[in-house]
Assembly symmetry: C2
Homo-oligomer: 210 residues x 2
């Protein structure tokens, strides 16, 4: 059970999180972002037998638990009247559904640690299916300090960046004006070949994308 040995997601349950969103709006926005991302990641992990991506799912699942707890506290503190409380109940229903989605995604990747490989799974991958990979940017990469647009990642490789993990903060669905930094971990989706090109760039093996 390779990814069970990496205890980062487990540590995260007890650690303080560096970036604390302040408002209910911020909390709910991140919960929405996580639930849209985590389902794709979970299926990708199980279909491609990718423990790296499964680890991110676990991490995001724990983060979602925390957010759901925090939003409940914030909602209760913010409710002064019956009207407030009724509106907050709606927000908490969305939050709970988001948490349920992330737990279900966690259930999917749990199968990886059972080492149950079913002959049906690889057949679920469409020929056209793009792969999802996690790439950490090397110190030597010339991409550091450049924006996603400047690097022409989409047009040169066909790869889309789903999220960037920077220390303990996540940037979901980064836009072209986001500047990459050393040590960033990019969760990317795209064709096999494009992912390989981007990996070369982020590892410092090539200077620009061709």
């Amino acid at each position: 059970m390779q990814y069970m040995k990496i205890p980062r997601w487990k540590r995260a349950e007890f650690e303080e999180i560096e970036y604390e969103p302040k408002s209910i709006r911020e909390l709910l926005k991140e919960m929405k972002n996580i639930s849209e991302l985590i389902v794709d990641l979970a299926y990708s992990a199980i279909l491609f037998n990718n423990t790296d991506i499964a680890e991110e799912v676990k991490y995001l699942e724990v983060r979602m638990d925390k957010l759901n707890y925090e939003i409940r506290i914030s909602a209760m503190l913010a409710s002064r009247t019956v009207e407030d409380a009724e509106k907050m109940a709606g927000i908490l229903q969305i939050a709970q559904a988001s948490d349920t989605i992330s737990n279900a995604a966690g259930d999917i990747v749990k199968l990886l640690s059972y080492k149950i490989t079913h002959p049906i799974l690889p057949h679920l991958i469409k020929e056209s299916d793009e792969i999802i990979r996690k790439i950490t940017m090397d110190r030597a990469s010339s991409a550091a300090g450049k924006t996603i647009s400047e690097l022409k990642i989409a047009s040169k490789t066909g790869v889309r960046i789903l999220a960037i993990r920077r220390n303990k903060r996540w940037i979901y669905g980064p836009k072209g004006n986001v500047r990459l930094a050393k040590g960033d971990t990019l969760v990317c989706i795209g064709p096999d070949e494009g992912i390989r090109e981007l990996t070369k760039l982020l590892k410092g093996d090539i200077g620009v994308l061709e």
Copy 2:
């Protein structure tokens, strides 16, 4: 409760489904596709107060229930040995998680019928967020019989087709070679302006995309 009056998703619970996938593989593939699509649709419905998209979520949720039932039956019939059964248990875990995801998406859109509009919700929409719309192709549209690539939908409008509903069958994440037919309902994501251009084409108001 406008969308509650439209009983199509409710009817679907009792109706026979025209397209019946045959194998466990087909069943699971569709469950994967639905769970990847339904989360985006649910959030879009609640954020943009869109009962049209909420209706599709309801429809897909009912479809998912059916698929989860069918896959259980198929898995039991296919299990002759303990090894078979153990592998099938893994498949059913993925299926159950997919069903849970679609139910959670259903819980999100249920809020629309409660008419609870929270001032926080519109703030969750990023300026860059694309809208999701359902467009049904008119008989008069010149797009009928043409492929998605031929119509240059992506390059001319920036719109991506997430799914096509054709009678009771769904095509999830259609590729460029899929030919559009009269009466197709397209679930699309993209910039406001691009969606409007595509709507004109599909309603027969313009002959080609400019």
